[in-house]
Symmetry: C2
Subunit: 111 residues, 2 copies
Amino acid sequence: MAQREAVVDGVFVALADSTRRAVISRLGHGPATVGDLAHDFPMTLPSFMKHVRTLEATGLIRTTKSGRVRTCELDRARLAVVQSWLDEQRRVWEARTDRLEQYVTDSEEHP
Amino acid sequence: MAQREAVVDGVFVALADSTRRAVISRLGHGPATVGDLAHDFPMTLPSFMKHVRTLEATGLIRTTKSGRVRTCELDRARLAVVQSWLDEQRRVWEARTDRLEQYVTDSEEHP
């Protein structure tokens, strides 16, 4: 599998969980510590850390540790792979719609 | 979990596989039979059918059977849940950028 496909797989897997999507949304407001983030979710800290590590492994977030405090930050560039994929699909649909319209126009002009 | 979240989870899971994404891309060009689609992928028909069923279960594609031929068609409305989620994130980032700019402007005017 091409490396890009593996990256896209990973990003979609990471986003296929409501907790991880909520973390992404929260980090859209700005960086936050793992402690502050974990507070918003009804699960143990080890369970929450698994989600943080999944997000970090795919590159959707970056984390930095200062003393005992780990801070998470969103990497919007990684999320852009999802937008790129959607844009690719839209280009295909639009090209198809254009061809269908051309076909209808041609049929009307040369019935 | 809210029903909408479950739908979004399902769509992201369905898209977290390069074969299923390729099927979505192929169906963007127009409907196709399972037989024609399967021909493009190096796997057995039963394996390919699992991917078709996953896509159908999430509502990303619809299938209809006529005699022994099953035809697949893309449902673009379901794919729109991914775009909606991305748009939500972008609104959060833009609101944050606006607030940061306002803060810088205020600081410059009232240092």
